[in-house]
Structure formats: structure tokens, C-alpha cells
Symmetry: C2
Subunit: 407 residues, 2 copies
């Protein structure tokens, strides 16, 4: 069979990731590669670490990507810190809490869970009460749960964990770069992110940061691989070699211990994506996400559809819509995709078929996209037989943007 030139459609991507990639990021990916130990490449690695610290809002020494998709960073952090039998508390309020449970359990942690109905988040006191009962070594929790569109407050939890010498590991895959993630101020010991959401870089790297409390464990478990060192085996060594952060840290240190071959073009992309965040500034970037969310919500309300979940803890970058009675989830999404070139998402688990999820992340989070979506969404709902307030959605959204312009 003959395969033609790559020839993909241009989509308006309004999912909770992967989202549209900034053209400047796409452009740097075409840069010819250089070797992983080329001095010029080492500069790029160092610059990327510095830029990550800005975005993570941290003074930690360590901030670098794991070479894999978002969940690779989560697994790297969990398996590097968890030893068999360690008590781990996982508060679950959606699919990705279950993923943390799954990973911790595969690495033989003694996992405890508390759960919330999908669509809600935890009152910090509920988690603190569980901590007092269980006394875990670490708490691992999702910040922005894309499966339900909820944002878990972390500040109070972080301060409690720090005061009680419990480690707090946070999955900020869906929030970093779109919503405040205050690593240091909130006392988060480790934070893991993804590239393909609010950073608007293609999927394939998992940036993370951690402090000296985590590093202490890594150094205790350190075991340089055979072929590079002939030392004896550390009985506490990290089970995975690829995800062994004690070795990956050395790769990112001035020692440049050979581990993997850094994913050159993806690192170029990450650096450019982070540079774009820094140029825009975190404050302005978060305000842009809030403004577009406001316009979207005004439009949806005027159109007459209902939102899902506890509105007080809504993620600004994900909006969940209850699918109206009698309307078919997949049919609406297929028409949006094939006729309008717009992708939105369904969801997983207990909510599958009940809600749509609209992402407004990174480069995808623009006035153009919000207005394009609202117009298309109204048309598709009408076509499918739903009752909506014709013409009202776009007017309400435009009014939000016009008011801002007039301020």
C-alpha cells in the first residue's frame, strides 16, 4: 500500500486536551536536532528548567520533564517515592484520582481512599480528618479533575501536610499554565504536569517539580544502573529504571549522567511553549482563561443549556454541560466535528453519555474559538431537536467581550 503525504484537517479543538498548539511551538519543532551532550543542547535543558520553575511558581532546585505523556510523570513520581507497604491516601473525585490509586497500588503501596460523588470536590477538612485517622506517608491528589471539570482547593491541605510531615503529591496535568498552581505557597512537595493541555505543546513530555523533602528520598534510594556503575544494589532502589527520578535528576544535573536520550524536538517545543507563557505572564494568562470562560458561560446560559457539577469548584478551563434529555451524545459530537470542524469531548465512567466537556485551554482558549463553538453548538442542538433560545447565546458572549473592551 502507498501512503500519501501527511494531510490532516485543521480542527478547532475545544476538548480538555490535547488542544491546539501555538504556531510558534509548531515552528520550533522543525528545527534540526543536535546531540544530547552538545553544549548548546545543555543550555536548552538549563533554560527549560528555569522556565519551568517560573510556571510552577517555585524556587525548587528541580523542575524538568519526564520523557513520556502526562501519566508517565505521575508514575515516575509515585514509583520513585512509594516503597512497598507505604501508606498512601488518595482522595478520589473523578477518573484521574482512580488512576493515582491504580499506579500507587501497582507499586505495592498500602492505598487508602476517600471518594466524592463525581461533580463535587473535597472540603479540606474531610481530607484532614482522613489523614488523622490513616496517618499516611503521602497524600496524592488531582488538582483539576478533567473527567468532571472540578478544581480541588489545595492550600489548606498543603499547610496541614507540611506541618504534620506528610508528603503531598499533586497531579496538575490539566491546570498548569491555565490556572494558579502555587507549588511553594501551597506547600506542595511534588507537582506533575502535562504539555498538551494549558501549555499548548503537543503530548509527549511530563514536566514535574519537587522539593528537598522528595529529593531526600530519591537520594536514599539511588542506584546507578549497571553498565555505568558496578556498585552494589541498593535494596530500596526504585523499581522502574526508566522512571527512576534519582537517575533522571543526575541526567539533568551538571553531571549529565547518561540515562535516556532526551526527546530533542519535544524539548524544543516545551521550551517555546514555556517562553510563550512567560511572555504573556501568568497573571495575564489566567485572566485570559477567565474572560473566555465567562463569555462561554454567558453564552451557554443564554442558549438555555444546563451546566454540570458544583459551580463553586468549577475548573475555569473545562466546562461540563448536561446533555439535554433525548439528545444523543455521539451524534452531536460527530456533527460538530465533521460539519463544523470542532472537537469537544464526552467523558468516562458514571458520567459517560450524560455530559459534554468543553475545554478552553492554552492556545485553544480564544475569543474566535468561543464564538465559533457557540454558533455551531446552537445549530447542532437545533438540528438534533433540542429546545434552545435561538440567537441568544452568541449575543450574550459578545456582550461579555464588548464590556471588557469598554472597561
Amino acid at each position: 500500500m502507498v501512503y500519501t503525504d501527511l494531510n490532516t484537517p485543521i480542527r478547532t479543538i475545544m476538548t480538555p486536551g490535547p488542544v491546539e498548539v501555538d504556531p510558534r511551538v509548531l515552528r520550533v519543532m522543525s528545527t534540526p536536532v543536535i546531540g544530547q551532550f552538545d553544549p548548546e543542547f545543555l543550555n536548552i535543558m538549563n533554560e527549560t528548567m528555569d522556565l519551568l520553575k517560573y510556571v510552577f511558581q517555585t524556587n525548587n532546585q528541580w523542575a524538568y520533564p519526564v520523557d513520556g505523556t502526562s501519566r508517565s510523570g505521575l508514575e515516575a513520581m509515585l514509583c520513585s517515592v512509594i516503597e512497598p507497604g507505604d501508606k498512601v491516601l488518595v482522595p478520589i473525585f473523578g477518573r484521574f484520582g482512580h488512576l493515582i490509586y491504580e499506579i500507587a497500588s501497582r507499586y505495592h503501596a498500602d492505598v487508602y481512599t476517600i471518594e466524592k460523588e463525581w461533580g463535587e470536590v473535597f472540603d479540606p477538612e474531610e481530607i484532614i480528618t482522613a489523614i488523622k485517622k490513616i496517618n499516611p506517608k503521602l497524600v496524592a491528589i488531582v488538582h483539576g479533575e478533567t473527567s468532571t471539570g472540578r478544581l480541588q482547593p489545595l492550600e489548606e491541605l498543603g499547610k496541614f501536610c507540611r506541618e504534620n510531615d506528610i508528603l503531598l503529591v499533586v497531579d496538575a496535568v490539566a491546570t498548569l499554565g491555565g490556572v494558579d498552581v502555587k507549588t511553594d505557597d501551597w506547600c506542595l512537595d511534588a507537582v506533575i504536569a502535562g504539555t498538551q493541555k494549558c501549555l499548548s505543546v503537543p503530548s509527549g513530555l511530563a514536566p514535574l517539580t519537587y522539593n528537598d523533602r522528595i529529593e531526600k528520598i530519591l537520594l536514599e534510594r539511588k542506584n546507578i544502573e549497571r553498565g555505568l556503575s558496578e556498585g552494589s544494589i541498593n535494596k530500596r532502589r526504585i523499581q522502574s529504571n526508566y522512571f527512576d527520578l534519582s537517575q533522571i535528576q543526575d541526567y539533568w544535573s551538571p553531571d549529565r549522567l547518561n540515562h535516556h536520550t532526551e526527546a530533542t524536538s519535544m524539548l524544543y517545543a516545551l521550551r517555546e511553549g514555556l517562553r510563550l507563557v512567560k511572555e504573556e505572564g501568568l497573571k495575564a494568562r489566567f485572566e485570559r482563561h477567565l474572560l473566555n470562560e465567562k463569555a462561554l458561560l454567558a453564552g451557554l446560559k443564554a442558549l438555555g443549556v444546563e451546566l454540570f457539577g458544583d459551580n463553586r469548584y468549577k475548573m475555569p478551563v473545562v466546562t461540563c454541560i448536561n446533555i439535554p434529555d433525548g439528545i444523543n451524545d455521539e451524534s452531536v459530537r460527530a456533527t460538530l466535528l465533521h460539519d463544523f470542524g470542532i472537537e469537544i469531548a464526552g467523558t468516562f465512567g458514571p458520567l459517560k453519555g450524560q455530559i459534554w466537556r468543553v475545554g478552553t485551554m492554552g492556545y485553544s482558549c480564544s475569543k474566535k474559538n468561543i464564538l465559533h463553538f457557540l454558533g455551531a453548538f446552537e445549530a447542532v442542538l437545533i438540528k438534533e431537536g433540542a429546545q434552545v433560545n435561538r440567537g441568544e447565546g452568541l449575543q450574550a458572549a459578545l456582550q461579555v467581550y464588548d464590556n471588557i473592551r469598554g472597561e
Copy 2:
């Protein structure tokens, strides 16, 4: 600190990887992304699987990449097949044999090794003798050992393993796309490759293939993660979630079970790299690698430097040169890099400081690069005080190319 536009030098990369990337591959990486469940993306996934089967020379049902660098594929395969206590035989003839040992050992295999002096390979009978003594569940071995530049013959070993119902897992990271890797003809049960070597795609994916003997084990150990399934835990489940090939296989199957978010731009790159291999044709591609190796060897011989290792088992895509007495490894490589813009490699372990390694892989394997290197290498050796036959190297290499043209 302000970071400037990405501004990297153009290098002539003559290492055993990462090597220069074909401009067509670089170009497709700038393609805007689409969603991971977009029907158009599913086509791209299927096409990539088909192209991989061509390059792996296999009729296996399964051939897809793991999202990580080469060693992620190795770890995924080993941890998906190895269960604690399984006997694994690892014949070691360089650094990457040690890496296989390291990974198998971290996953609690009962690992047995046989070792060869660096620079040699195994007579298949030596491995077969060890197998008879140990009776392992699987043998895991490197095909092209870049740390020493040696190529291990596999055909006889493969046939013996198949006849005796032993699994054979092969690390072909450094050979796929540059040297024959006959997955089916040689009876290899699983083969793992990398992108940044003879495929001339940036680092970041690890293509692999496996047959139904391996798949049987995956299906027995299958355990769909929490959040997608509420089933009971399979006691034999694969330890790593990210590297769980039983789930990744479902992601690449028509079921499209959600696991990770496929690294979109890297997949575009891999597809284009594979398409280039298919357009050139495996036979012509291997001949190109042999011709350039021939010219390089003629040039080095005429120049008067010595090659390292057993010449009968030399990798065509890696040439190891003994560093002449009194000549400094790093000084030569630094001058090549900074003055001539050429990168070659040193090596690891017992041979560190004793040999240089010159890669002639994929897009880097060209007449232009060979001649550029030979001229620069002579100049640097003279500058560093080595005795060489001035002017002879390039003449000998040109003669090889001219003879071919005259044939």
C-alpha cells in the same frame, strides 16, 4: 531572565544516535495537531502500524510505538512479559546488555548472564549451551551493541529458542532501518527499536513488535485500570501502568481503550520517517549504509588509524576507532565539534577514553558527511600531533565512491 528565540547550530552528527533528522520528517512535525480520537488520527495510527510491520519485516498483528525514548520500549516489553522469579538469560557484550540485566532485575526476574569481552560477540552455540543449562523462560539480547560497535548474529539462536519454546526478546534500537532485522525469519518473539538512530526521527518514541506467543502472556496478565473498569485485580497484572502493553495494545486496537494521550507530533514524525524507509526500500537502504561504511573504512585505513573490535561482527552503522597513543579523546572531539561542527562519540565503561565511535545512520549516512568527517578528522589528528598518512584518507574514500559510479 529573558530567553531568546531558539537558535541552535547546524551540526554534522556522526554519532551512534541521536542522528540528523530527515528534513521531510522535521517538516511534518510543524503540522497542527488533531485530537487523539479524531477519525483522521486513527487512520494515521493504523498507517503507522502497517509501515512498522514493513520495517520490522513481520506479519505480526502488533507493531506500535511506546511513548518514551528507546529504553522505554525495552522496559515496557520486559516488564510486560517478566513475572517475579522468571528465569531470564541475558548474554552481555557491552553496555546495553547490562541495561537489559538492570531492567529485568528491577522487575524481580531471576537473571542469569553470560559475558563476552567488549568488542566481541557470542558464538550462537555459547548461548545455546547456557540455555540448556539454565532453561530460562526468555532470552533477552542486544542486536547492535553501540557501546562496542558489534552486531550479534541472531538467526541460529532464534530457531533454537522457537524449537525449545523459549521466548527471544531483541533490542534492535540501533539497527532497525539500517541493517537487516528479520523478525519473522529469525524467529524473534519481540523486537524493540528506537527512532533517533537508523530511522532518523527525533528521540521520543520506541517502536516495537511482538507475536502471538507474547500476546498470550499479555492477555493472561491483562488488567484494565480503575476509572475505566471496576473489575477485580488480576494477581498477575503487569507492575507498571504506563508500560502495561496489555492496555497499550487495546489503545492501538479498534477498541481504542483510553490509556495515554498519544504523542501526536512525534507520531507524525515516525510515520514520515517510516514512509521514507519504504520509499527508499529496505534493500537499497541497507546497501546505502554499506557503501558509506566501505568508503569510511577505506578512508580510515588509508589515513593509518586502527579499528577496534572483532571485524567479522562489526556493525555497518557504527565504526569504532582506537584512539592513538598520546592523543586526548575529549580534545579531539571538542575540536571536531567546535571548529568543524561535527559530532562523534566516545564510549562508556571499560572502553571509555580508548575508542571513538563514528555513527553512519539514516539521514546522517551520506557521502557528504563521510567526506566531511574524513577531511576534518585528518586535520584534527595532525593538529593534536598524531602520525597520519596526509591526504590519503579522502583519496581512498573518493575511490570507493568513484568505483561504484563506474560499475
